[in-house]
């Protein structure tokens, strides 16, 4: 074509001409591609703070992890991978914390997702009563973990606690328990508290997800004479897969943050039965084993990354398989 070359002054003649009008052509090309230089000043303060106080310390965690630093001495030795070796070789406390963390996460993810989905589907309609109940169910979320922990400390108190007195009053004496004092089950009671704490928040995410499903899909399903379960399986489930993914990711991250809850429930009952990775790292840190704690935190990061990765895969698979 013999199109006049004057037409092609810029690569794409759409955006932000006003600001760069009259500038040399080369300069305009740069701005077309990378935007006004002033735009880069806006994220600058955040980036500076973030790099100095977040990114660099995160990298430093890896440096500390290969030392025996106690946090106070001026000098420390590099010990290579000794810390990691010790962790892998069976630091019983660490293995216990790891097992507890995974048990806890699994139970919380399964039940919190299930409960919040069931509640959400029950409170989907915008009636006055469901609006009120949504608000009630969401309420625990805004409390501090320490507050929640104190309430549950009383519920679980073996002698005066709410749970045992409620069980006794309905004649279920056989179910009374020492709860957090029960070495084998304590972590599951912690999970109950966590589910109580955050189910309402997840319910709201599900409600938003469910409300985006077009009604026509259900109408079509009704015409086809599809049963309840089939309707859920083939319409609802695939449509809320993104919400489910978010809920599971949130729940996982929150379950690793249960640290505050453990502390509020009174630290560490017998044999570290409530010890999870985050409390273990904190304990090593408080014991002035900075290098060792850093190594633990690296493993902690890796576990979270791995779990998140597996979850993403699983959610994608169920999404496409549905």
């Amino acid at each position: 074509m013999s199109a006049p070359s004057t037409v092609r002054t810029g690569p794409a003649p759409t955006p932000a001409r006003g600001t760069s009008a009259g500038r040399p052509r080369k300069h305009r090309g740069w701005r077309q591609r990378f935007g006004h230089p002033a735009f880069y000043l806006f994220p600058l303060p955040a980036l500076v703070v973030y790099v100095i106080f977040f990114a660099v310390p995160t990298v430093q965690a890896f440096q500390y992890a290969v030392t025996d630093w106690d946090g106070y001495s001026a000098g420390y030795r590099s010990v290579g991978l000794d810390n990691f070796e010790q962790l892998a070789r069976g630091d019983d406390l660490f293995v216990n914390a790891m097992t507890n963390s995974l048990k806890f996460m699994l139970v919380v993810v399964v039940f919190q997702t299930l409960f919040s989905l069931v509640l959400a589907s029950m409170l989907l309609r915008n009636s006055r009563s469901s609006t009120l109940l949504r608000a009630v169910f969401f309420l625990p979320t805004i409390l501090s973990s320490v507050s929640v922990a104190f309430v549950w400390k009383f519920i679980y108190d073996p002698n005066f606690g709410l749970a045992n007195s409620a069980l006794k009053s309905v004649g279920l004496d056989s179910l009374t328990s020492s709860f957090l004092g029960d070495e084998g089950k304590a972590i599951y009671f912690l999970a109950i508290t966590q589910v109580w704490f955050h189910t309402g928040q997840m319910m709201v995410i599900f409600i938003a997800g469910l409300q985006q499903i077009p009604r026509e899909l259900y109408e079509a399903a009704a015409i086809d004479g599809v049963g309840r379960w089939q309707r859920f399986r083939h319409v609802t489930w695939p449509m809320i897969a993104p919400a489910t993914g978010i809920v599971i990711a949130y729940t996982t991250i929150q379950s690793f943050k249960a640290f505050d809850l453990v502390l509020g429930l009174g630290g560490n009952p017998p044999q570290g039965s409530l010890d999870i990775l985050s409390t273990r790292i904190y304990t090593s840190f408080a014991d002035s084993r900075f290098g060792y704690a850093a190594a633990e935190s690296i493993v902690f990061m890796a576990v979270i990354a791995l779990v998140t990765l597996i979850q993403r895969r699983t959610v994608k698979l169920t999404q496409s398989g549905a």
Binding site: V151, F160, A208, S297
Partner: protein, 271 residues
């Protein structure tokens, strides 16, 4: 029909599970220990307002309340400022540089606090920022900046480009575009983020636990935790502390629950 009764029953049970512990706690804050232990579910035999006197009167809680209010207000405001500036810039930087910077900032969301707290502690210690409220504000900002950028940038990207182009044509510079166009238009997401940050910062425990030794610099969650040590099984006093510490947020929640719910779920679902 059966399913409707089942639905009601289930909702009733869950309502009870959520409310009973909270009501027992609230009533408990007006009881004596023996009254709480023998009649946990009833109203107080005799209303003990003295618990509140003791909690509010104790120097610790009063100071902690002021500290929390100050730290939270500063943390929320500054995080919002930094994050909204960043979000605006990132929404306007075209192509890969914008996405790279955004990705770098938002990556912080997936790093658990316990992972970098040790080097952070060392750094803050060196800079003399431990045992200081300013230090707490700073670490609060740092810890929530990624998620705040995530929420706000998500919103600012959805603002139509034409608005910015029109502003540019009128000769309005980037800074004024941010202040007079992007910020006002982002008000809903700014409010949601503000409430999200408010709840997080008000309840933050880990950083005060790490950074604060001085009793005069304690925030509420830390003071509460300390309370537990002092009054090991004095549940009425513990409950009173909880009520005092939670009251501002709960009262705010009762009046603004729609916004609280939007805030605490911001960024997770498209509105």
């Amino acid at each position: 029909m059966g399913s409707r009764i089942g639905r009601r029953a289930l909702l009733g049970v869950y309502t009870a599970l959520v409310l009973i512990p909270l009501l027992v706690m609230f009533a408990g804050s007006f009881k004596t220990t023996s009254d709480l232990f023998s009649n946990p579910f009833s109203l107080p035999e005799e209303w003990q307002f003295g618990n509140y006197g003791e909690v509010l009167g104790s120097a610790d809680m009063g100071t902690a309340f002021t500290n929390s209010a100050l730290v939270t207000a500063c943390s929320v405001t500054l995080t919002l400022l930094l994050a909204s500036l960043a979000a605006y810039g990132l929404a306007r930087i075209p192509g890969w540089p914008g996405w790279v910077l955004y990705g770098f900032l938002v990556l912080g969301m997936s790093v658990p606090a316990q992972a970098n707290m040790i080097p952070q502690f060392v750094l803050f210690d060196v800079l003399g920022l431990t045992d200081s409220l300013a230090g707490l504000v700073l670490i609060n900002i740092v810890s929530t900046l990624p998620v705040a950028v995530f929420i706000l940038a998500g919103f600012m990207r959805t603002l139509p480009r034409e608005i910015y182009e029109a502003a540019a044509l009128d000769g309005v510079g980037p800074w004024r575009t941010y202040r007079s166009i992007a910020l006002p238009l982002s008000l809903p997401s700014l409010a949601a983020t503000a409430i999200f940050l408010l709840v997080i910062h008000w309840n933050e425990l880990l950083y005060p636990l790490l950074f604060i030794n001085d009793p005069d610099k304690r925030t509420l969650p830390l003071a509460l935790l300390n309370f537990q040590g002092e009054f090991l099984t004095n549940y009425p006093l513990l409950f009173t502390g909880v009520v005092v510490a939670s009251l501002p947020l709960v009262v705010g929640y009762i009046f603004l629950q729609r916004f609280f719910i939007a805030g605490m779920t911001a960024g997770s679902v498209k509105e």
